[in-house]
Subunit: 409 residues, 2 copies
């Protein structure tokens, strides 16, 4: 009675990447303010210098810096105000020694001026005559052309999930459209004779269909389009038909429920018949072993059999399918949290372990508290904030050990 040959997580990921070589992410160009949350599919660079002109960073007077040298409260410098520059205007006036041109925050500074004296350090003593109580150095309160950003500087790397600040950057640069990846299309099929839908009464030993809802929501929150979310009986023909119907329109098909070693597990057989390319027959990770991976080269569709247990199914979707997507789209990994283990945890050697944990925020650090859950626990979905990966060659985790916690989205 032994398990089939299983892959390590790393092996399964590598196989999936290799097998899907002919898979192409689709790219489209969209307005930058509709790109929020999309994955950038090009490297966006600055098209202009910022600022594009010498800009005052304060309200005050553009002067020749030298004129102010030595000025103090008791020994002010004197200036004639020869003009002013409004913030939208080109600075047409010139500045000569002893002169000052009034500017606002954001105004263009006249070419000859070499500093801006803040209005707070000046006083008007007669029309167009001011005194300045402070010395300013060359360049003070002026942002030089291209000082903030130079033409050609990288703004957004390919693979970045575009956030609000990225949208602001593109607006700043006059970049009206951006290439992003089209969302992947996913079909979720929950299989199991015991499953009833949300609004049905539970009777006998029926349980509710959780996975089609959970996986669809997880896919959506990662930017996928869910084409269809369905629940079918654990019958060979029904499953085969559902998969075949989904092939044409799906980049990813998730089958959940039929990959453990029960009586009626047709998943592997069906995937083999449809794709002739089932390359992972189990992953040696706890939880999540009964994970099957196949790829239909003709339709360019990944078909994955995920565990029936909701937490395991959602974890394997993250660790395998989302990881694959992040790899091919070059999406940087999210920042993990570092935490201190609250207690010793043992793990199976020879099998990687995905330890569910709750994060407790302290004054200066986090504590990771293991979330224990029997196989199939549903409450674990709510009790855990994330997980710690324990490598297979490691005996476990020690109380006080520092760990990386990957937090669920």
């Amino acid at each position: 009675m032994e398990l089939l040959h299983t892959d390590t997580l790393a092996e399964a990921r590598e196989k999936l990447k290799t097998e899907t070589e002919n898979f192409m992410l689709r790219i489209h160009r969209i307005p930058c303010d509709e790109a929020l949350g999309c994955v950038c599919a090009e490297t966006v660079t600055a098209r202009e210098n910022v600022p594009s002109f010498r800009r005052s960073t304060v309200d005050g007077y553009a002067i020749i810096a030298k004129d102010s040298y030595g000025a103090t409260d008791s020994n002010p410098a004197f200036y004639s105000v020869t003009g002013h520059v409004n913030i939208e205007e080109r600075a047409a006036v010139s500045v000569m020694s002893g002169e000052a041109v009034q500017v606002q925050t954001g105004s263009m500074v006249p070419d000859e001026a070499t500093a801006v004296l803040m209005v707070e350090y000046t006083e008007t003593y007669s029309p167009n005559k001011i005194v300045g109580y402070k010395a300013v150095s060359e360049g003070e309160n002026i942002t030089q052309i291209g000082e903030d950003m130079k033409m050609g500087d990288c703004l957004i790397r390919s693979g970045r999930k575009i956030n609000a600040r990225d949208v602001a950057m593109m607006a700043a640069m006059g970049i009206g459209t951006v290439q992003v990846y089209e969302p992947l299309v996913l079909t979720v099929i929950s299989t199991g004779d015991e499953l009833v839908d949300m609004d049905e009464e539970l009777s006998g030993a029926k349980v509710r269909d959780i996975n089609s809802y959970g996986l669809a929501a997880q896919a959506r929150s990662n930017g996928f389009i869910v084409r269809k979310q369905m629940r079918i009986k654990d019958q060979e023909t029904a499953i085969r038909q559902a998969v075949e119907e989904a092939l044409d329109e799906s980049d990813v098909i998730l089958l959940s429920g039929g990959s453990s070693k029960g009586n009626k597990d047709y998943t592997k057989k069906i995937l083999e018949e449809i794709t002739h390319n089932v390359f992972t027959h189990g992953i040696s990770i706890k939880p999540g072993k009964p994970t099957i991976l196949s790829y239909d080269r003709q339709h360019k569709t990944i078909i994955a059999g995920l565990p029936g247990h909701p937490m395991a199914a959602m974890l394997m979707f993250r660790l395998v399918i989302l990881d694959w997507y992040e790899t091919i789209a070059k999406i940087p990994k999210g920042y993990p949290y570092f935490a201190v283990m609250q207690e010793n945890v043992s793990s199976n050697q020879g099998r990687e372990m995905c330890l569910l944990v709750r994060l407790v925020c302290g004054e200066e650090d986090y504590t990771a508290v293991p979330v224990y859950a029997k196989s199939g626990s549903i409450s674990a979905l709510e009790r855990a904030d994330g997980y710690v990966m324990i490598p297979r060659n490691k005996e476990g985790l020690k109380k006080g050990e520092r760990v990386r916690v990957e937090v669920f989205e």
Copy 2:
């Protein structure tokens, strides 16, 4: 030449909360699988016990535990298989001493059975006769009724942003609909004679309108609906008209650009005339001082004048308006990151400081690297991952000091 009286950030937040007492978040009930990303507006509790029946956690045989005591590889126990329970079925068969009923992972366990013996530890030696090579204790491999969750247990607290696991939990519980807050409606008005739109040529001292794009995107990524995003000249009548038009349909109006001390700053005057209720005339925080807060009690609309600098505007939107929303909707704060300061940073005493930082992920910890940016820097939007708040009574931060970094969404 002194600044107007300014509030501390804490004072401004408190005033905003008090002044908006008559503001009511709108609640609606939606299907649970459409609630992803919405803010839960009720406390969702378990309506059923999970599991609702005694459930086997393995494939194997339901037995009387006592029958297995002492069984080993060399001294197996003998059982007659009297039936089997499919996973969707009510367990109709009973189990007596010496008997075994075949069950699958997820099957209902017959009432009399007190443990399940894993199939891996059994062997069939003639039809309906098995031997078991292992002893199992009372309750082993059985999840008891309500063991995972009990009726009445809290599943989702009011204020939680509903994630994929929450959707899975609701599906598990047969909770088809959930009360969530309707998104707030927001209008963004960028003011400034110097502003041109994204697709226009820059000429003279014009700069692009960044804030209407950045703030709108920030609002959207926090679940707001952006009713309108507009850019208008810094003219009193134009601004007044835009605000008045937005009042009826907006919960929040953001004005950006006209709150510093330039020539043409009508914001304060207009807000006073429209709302008769401008309560914050500046916040003593760097950056973000020129922030004006008012509330129109009649229309139940917050009108905020935000700084013109993009980074400052987005920070103040987060620190004041989003903070307000999170407070009234009781949304828990996101987890901060802890990091070690890379260098000394001085701060103005008497004024809170929002220090932009980049996070560098090390083996066991993060380093926070200050992002220096002149006032109005646009590149800071891209260079910073988040910020550290330095309280006003603190001199600065020391190299090696542990800090909390709030990461931008």
